[in-house]
């Protein structure tokens, strides 16, 4: 397990990012061995996939060298060592790894494990806790993601002028001459990726999966398309205003489910009242909420990637003109 420790001590930025990708994969495998399949799912698609891509785009924009640190690292090392020592001292009181009688296992956990099947009727406990017991939290998370999307858009959106567009397309065309094999393979793969995203979305009640993961996978399919066929082509297929609208609509779906359940006499996000049969109501509520989450996550990821790649292309075009 100590593998990941050695990884991250290299200077070149591209190499660092690649190793960060491997690190994401390693930690996702940890999660599988620790029984957290849903988390592994998310970490695989987010930590190893999307965040690596975003970092690479940034490195491509900002350059790959790192200057030698000018100040001495001894102080930092000292601070780190002291903190680490204190934390290790703190672990001596911790319950042993995997012990059944640890305090964590004794409070809310058993209730979720024992009763969620009767109360929610969804085999995947992670989904039922995520969407129903702690639905309010998840609402907050979705809002955070939405806000991040807006933030990235505010920071990186470029005012697009037609002459820039032609320059960008010239660059794209020259790049597209090659990659014939890749384009054919990816063209066949993309429909399956999107289909698989829907499977993950709606199968989340029964197996690992759910809105977050499905959204990321869906976005990954679109990103793959955008990377190989050029951003302008992808923009023609996926209109950016539509995506922006969708990201808001996802949050809106989530919130309105809560409001509707309030109007039906329950409390906010209490899906039991959505239908005559509480369990059917829970199913309906979870389905709708996961849909909202999926839509928001997918569109925010697409927005983020489009903004990053658009910035990169914009700079390329500017550079091309100045040459």
């Amino acid at each position: 397990m100590g593998i990941a420790v050695a990884i991250n001590q290299i200077k070149d930025m591209f190499a660092v990012v690649m190793l960060a990708g491997i690190y994401g994969l390693v930690s996702a495998s940890f999660f599988v061995t620790l029984d957290a399949v849903d988390v592994a799912f998310t970490e695989a698609s987010v930590g190893a996939g999307i965040s690596t891509l975003l970092m690479l785009t940034t490195v491509a924009i900002t350059g790959r060298t790192e200057h030698e640190a000018s100040h001495k690292p001894m102080l930092a090392l000292f601070v780190v060592m002291v903190t680490g020592g204190l934390l290790i001292y703190g672990t001596f009181d911790m319950p042993y790894f995997g012990s059944v009688d640890a305090p964590v296992q004794n409070h809310v956990g058993p209730r979720y494990i024992l009763d969620s099947m009767q109360e929610i009727g969804v085999p995947n406990m992670v989904t039922s806790v995520l969407a129903s017991y702690r639905g309010f939290d998840t609402f907050g998370e979705v809002t955070v993601i939405f806000t991040a999307g807006i933030g990235v858009l505010a920071l990186l959106s470029v005012v697009r002028r037609p002459e820039d567009d032609t320059a960008i397309e010239a660059i794209n065309d020259s790049m597209h001459e090659k990659h014939l094999i890749l384009r054919v393979v990816i063209k066949t793969l993309i429909p399956f990726i999107l289909l698989y995203a829907f499977y993950v979305q709606f199968h989340g009640d029964f197996g690992p999966g759910g809105g977050f993961q499905a959204g990321v996978i869906f976005a990954a399919g679109i990103i793959l398309y955008a990377m190989l066929f050029g951003l302008s082509v992808a923009r023609r297929v996926i209109k950016q205003p539509l995506v922006q609208l969708l990201s808001a609509i996802g949050v809106l779906i989530y919130g309105s489910v809560g409001v509707v359940s309030m109007l039906n006499g329950g409390s906010f996000l209490d899906y039991g009242v959505l239908s005559a049969d509480p369990i059917a109501g829970q199913h309906l509520g979870i389905l709708l909420i996961e849909l909202g989450v999926g839509v928001t996550v997918a569109s925010v990821m697409i927005i983020i990637f489009f903004s990053f790649a658009g910035r990169s292309e914009y700079q390329q075009a500017k550079k091309g003109k100045s040459l």
Partner: protein, 119 residues
């Protein structure tokens, strides 16, 4: 019948593991990028196929077998095309292969090495 299936699956798994290991040794020991890529790419595909087939022979449930087949198909699609893209990109960006009889054993140009490329 059961023992036969078990035997077949063990054989597939063992073969897969062996191929995996040889690929791993290859990626570590070979002198330049292209031979390493050869070792990784070729052994990877067959090893993945072998291990997945070995797993398929172990389990009677249809759904699991279908999923395994999907994974297998995806590996067969993805692994060679990724190798193709990788090798092509390396060649186009001026990473020279080590040719037999080449005295200069380094095999890497400075352009795309670890050294940051001069802008």
């Amino acid at each position: 019948m059961d023992t036969l299936l078990n035997l077949a699956s063990s054989f597939c798994l063992l073969l897969g593991s062996f191929l995996c290991l040889s690929g791993g040794v290859g990626i570590l020991r070979f002198p330049d990028f292209y031979t390493r890529m050869h070792a990784a790419g070729v052994s990877d595909t067959l090893a993945a196929a072998m291990i997945l087939i070995g797993l398929m022979l172990q389990i009677p449930e249809t759904l699991v077998i279908i999923k395994l087949i999907i994974i297998l198909l995806m590996t067969l699609f993805i692994s060679p095309s990724a190798s193709h893209a990788l090798g092509r990109a390396a060649l186009l960006n001026g990473l020279t292969p080590v040719v037999a009889g080449d005295k200069n054993h380094a095999g890497q140009t400075t352009e795309v090495g670890d050294n940051p490329s001069k802008s």
